[in-house]
Structures are given as C-alpha cells and as structure tokens.
Subunit: 331 residues, 2 copies
C-alpha cells in the first residue's frame, strides 16, 4: 500500500486537522471527529446533520457550511459514527427549530443515527430523519438492507440545506429531503478497487480487462463483473438501470451528477457527462442542472457514478440557492 | 489500460463535448479545441489566454470564466496546442486592450505561444507573455529547458485574471502574473505513474514501496526515486526544496496549494495540508490563503504537489476577488 499518510489508524484524525487548518469557516472537533459550521447554532433555523464512515470525501465534512449541512460526523474509514458523536453534533447545531439527520442507508449508520435521535429527544431536541437509498444497482448488499445510499446524498443535502437556510420548518425540510431521495437514482461502475489504510490491500481484484458493474461506495459487489466496454456503452447501461428504477420521460427536468469515485480523472468524467447529455437529450429529457466532479468517493477507487434526480421547479430553485462549503460553493 | 473512454484518439474532443454540455457559461469550439468565456471579448478588458497539453484538468479549460481566464487552448494529451489555435483564442478574447498569454515552461508550448503572439501582432493585437516555471525539483527536464511550469500556473491565472477583471492595463496584468510566478515554488511527489490513452500503459514503473521525488506533471523524472516515507517526512522534504529555491521567512504571508495529481483522494490531501500547515506555522510563516484539492493534474497519476506563493497584500486582495469558473468559484 502506498498512500500519503503517517499511520493507518491516524488518517481520519490527521485529515480533520488539515480540514480545520484549511477552512476557518468550520469548527472542527478533532477528538470527537465532528465538523460544525463556525456560526452554529443558527437561532431559529432547522439544523442539518449528516455523517457516516470516512473515505467518501468531500462528503460529508466538505459539505458543511451556509446553505448545506450544519454539521457532519466522521466515523473511522468505512465505519459508522457512534451515537454519542451524532448526539453531540445534533446538540451543537440545534437552534431551537429541530434537527434533520441525513442518513445513508447502511445498517450501522441507520442504527446509530436512530439511537442518537432518541438521545436527542431526551434532551428535548426534535429530530427528523431523511434516509437516502438511491443506489439502484442492488437490493440488499454488504452492510445494507435495501438499497444503498450514495451520490444522491449530496443532492439531498444541497436542496434540503437551502430550504432550511430560508427558514422552513422541520417537517418541511425533512419532507423535501425525502422527496429528493425519492426522485433520485444512482448507478456506479468501478475499474479498480480502493485500498483502506487498515487493510493495506485492495478490497477486491479485477482482471486487466474487467469492470465491476453496480459497485457500492465501499467496494461492495455490484450486479455482475464483466469485460470493460466503451464509455458510451457503460453510460447506456447505467442510464437503463437508473431509468428502469426511477422513470424519467421526455419533458422531465433532471439534475445530473457525474461523480468520480476518487481515482478517476476529470477528463474522463467530462467525457462521460457528454455521453449522458447526449443520451438524455436524445430521449427528450432536459438536463436542467448538472455537476461533474469528484464529490462522493470511495478513497482511491477508480470508478464513477451517475445520479439522476427528477427535479421539480422548487428543487431547481433550491439547487440554485447560494451555498458556501469547502466542497460545493456558488456564493 | 482501463479508462472511461471510447477511442484513445477521441478523448480530448469528447471531453470538450461534455465540458460544453455542462457549462453554458463557456463557448467551446470542439473542432479547434478552444474554450472561451461566453461573453468574450469583453470590450476594454485585457484578455487572458492559457493552454497546453490536455490531461491536466481542470486546468486550463476549467479555469475559463469571469475573474480568471478568457480562453484556453486544449492540445492533445500532453501535447502543445498549435499556433493557429492559440491565435484563434487570442482573437476571440481581444477586447482592444491586448492579451496576456500564460504559458507553462515547456519547449513546445513556449515556441507555439511565441509564434501565435507574432501572428497576433500581425493582426494588431498586442500580446504579453507570462512564463510560469515554478517547479523547483529540477533544472531542465524532458520537454523543458529550465524549470517546469506546474501548480503555480493556476495561482498566476487567478491573480492576474482578477487584476484584468478590474480593468488594469496590459503591462500591469503581465507584470502581476510574472510577479506571482517569481514568488512561487512547487514540488511534486508521485506514488504511481499516469497512463496516457495513446500509450495504454504507465509512463514509468515504481516498485511497491517506491516514490518518485520531484516528478513532473507529465511523469517526467524527478530528483530521485526512493522508498516511500510517512506523509510528514514527504512534506518536510518538499518544503525544504521549495524554501531553498524561494525563501519564505517568519512573518511572510503565503498562499499554499496542496494539489492532487489525479488519482490521490482528498482525505490524503487534507492530511498533507495539515502537515504543511504545522510545518509553516512552526516556522512563523502565515498561511494567509490555502487551497486543497485536485486542480493541476497528470491524468490518473497518484501523487501530489505543494505550491507556496509568497504573497503581497495586493496578491491576497486579488486572490479573494470573485471568480466564477467550472474549476474554481467563489462568487
């Protein structure tokens, strides 16, 4: 294993030290592994908290800031944060209007966020949970009952975060998050596995001409392993899976995310987006907004995911609202 | 070779198709491989044009937009753009106040931009050239006489671009670009080589425990090959090289870029930045601004570079000025 690290068991902690040094707009508790926007809690605003295992950067800590998350809890790599940590984040951002937890659908995350929500209720903080389960590749997987939560998480965080920033109430923000998830579907393909610092070797092995179709963001198996194909065929396959699960029709407006999993260069992501744009335009679907880059990752995995969100006018308006975080910024 | 592409000789062109589809604020000439801000030319404003071989995305096409570049010329992968292409870009952005060419110091780029500047002069467009040669790893290298141009290029483009946006004159913008280059030094380390689509195999081979110290952004050899070391030692070595070439002292204000070369995940870049911040703060140097991410790349190379720019108050003010490009945005 070759990585820019010191010791495998210090990676998350030392990356948080760097995050804190780089972004004075964040308050980083390195010991508790919590990232909070510096001006939290914002009185009267619904707080948004997310988190999960580390290794998916910039998600979630990089999405903390005005217009998106109020706090993120960083677990160890590919390991859920613990209830006390999530409770502390929830308390730190509670401005009296309640807190929404954005939770990716992995069994550990679901359980620990649920426990934290119960602990928060004991402290008289109302919590609503938005479960994200957008990955249509497989039903049930390593660490997951049901569909996995992947790329749509950042779209949920952006849009629900914008609504919270406008002063909407707890139920309204949670309902919008759920609606975005419901309107979203993702599909990922890997060309090479990632290596966790603790394991020191790739999580799986692909042949020189193979790809993992429907891979999860921790390297969970997908639908099948097959020979690599040209980009336009891979895109067609991913869009078929996405549109079978969540139909989008001519005239629909969508947000498209073409996302790198960590080890894939931007030139390939733009090439893939060109194929997605051609395919969807050809079907009469309007790509109203798009994002091409490396946002929801799996350490150094060579791969990409495509997320399509069928967006209402309200979702598009909230997508366009100002956001100022390390990982996503247009204000 | 496993990449998300269709045909090796269509990669640049098809990535530009995707860039155009993703960013309506850009005018992309796919045939000529030129990316221009949609509202160019801006009357009375000095135009900024850069370019070079593709494979360094988001540089340069991703840095086109208000506050930074007016146009970028994309060569084939790791191949200089041609003079006619550079001339066309120069003409497209000339608003009557002249055009600054930002050129990384590689022999082909230098020659072709010089020819284009002469052709532009024939068309009565005044051109000034800012040569970027910030990579202090080696003197002379594959494709280069003198030092190579790397990470500082984007800092030059940001700061000179901001000055041009304010309406400064041609000589002033060029002088600021040159001053930023003069104040900057970079150093890169690779853990694994990149693979160009045309070659289909890595440009060099490192052992399982080796790193290339002082690597160039096309995989050019560095100072030496040695056993991989902990991140803090790699950072210390890079900062020593940087500070030997361009001294920074206690009390100085610097802009620091910790940059991924394409295949290195963000969690490692933040960890590295934490080490840089610790080392410079320990030496009394003020990191006034910083940027951590994947900006100046070498396809899928696993590696990182550190750039330190000793900044004047004026440079910091221009760094903070609004910028709105696909790859860098804070307005």
């Amino acid at each position: 294993m070759k990585k820019f690290i010191n010791q495998p068991d210090q990676v998350v902690r030392q990356a948080l030290v760097g995050l804190a040094a780089a972004h004075p707009g964040l308050r980083v508790d390195v010991d508790q592994q919590i990232v909070v926007r510096a001006d939290a809690p914002v009185a009267g605003k619904v707080g948004l908290v997310s988190g999960g295992g580390s290794g998916h950067e910039p998600m979630h800590g990089g999405f903390v800031g005005p217009g998106m998350l109020d706090a993120a809890c960083a677990g160890e790599i590919f390991t859920s944060p613990v209830p006390d940590q999530i409770l502390a984040a929830t308390q730190a951002v509670d401005g009296g209007a309640g807190v929404v937890h954005v939770v990716k659908n992995y069994t550990g995350d679901v359980l620990n966020f649920q426990l934290a929500a119960e602990l928060a209720a004991d402290e008289s903080i109302e919590v609503r949970t938005v479960l994200v389960d957008d990955d249509v590749a497989v039903e049930d997987s390593t660490w997951t009952a049901g569909r996995r939560g992947t790329g749509a998480t950042m779209i949920v965080e952006k849009i629900a975060g914008a609504l919270a920033a406008e002063g909407a109430g707890l139920d309204e923000v949670a309902a919008m998050g759920a609606a975005v998830n419901e309107a979203s579907a993702s599909f990922a393909v890997a060309l090479a596995a990632c290596t966790t610092p603790s394991a020191g070797k790739p999580g799986f092995t692909l042949g020189d001409d193979e790809m993992e179709v429907g891979v999860g963001i921790h390297g969970e198996p997908g639908r099948r392993r097959e020979l690599i194909r040209p980009a336009h065929e891979i895109v067609a396959m991913a869009l078929d899976a996405i549109r079978s699960a969540k139909p989008v029709a001519a005239g629909d407006h969508v947000i498209v995310l073409v996302n790198g999993l960590g080890g894939t260069p931007l030139i390939e992501l733009y090439l893939l987006f060109g194929e997605v744009a051609g395919a969807l335009s050809g079907a009469g679907v309007d790509i109203a907004r798009s994002l091409v880059g490396t946002y929801v990752t799996s350490l150094d995995m060579v791969g990409m995911s495509i997320t399509v969100t069928r967006a209402t006018e309200e979702m598009l308006r909230l997508w366009d609202a100002p956001v100022s975080t390390p990982g996503l910024r247009w204000s």
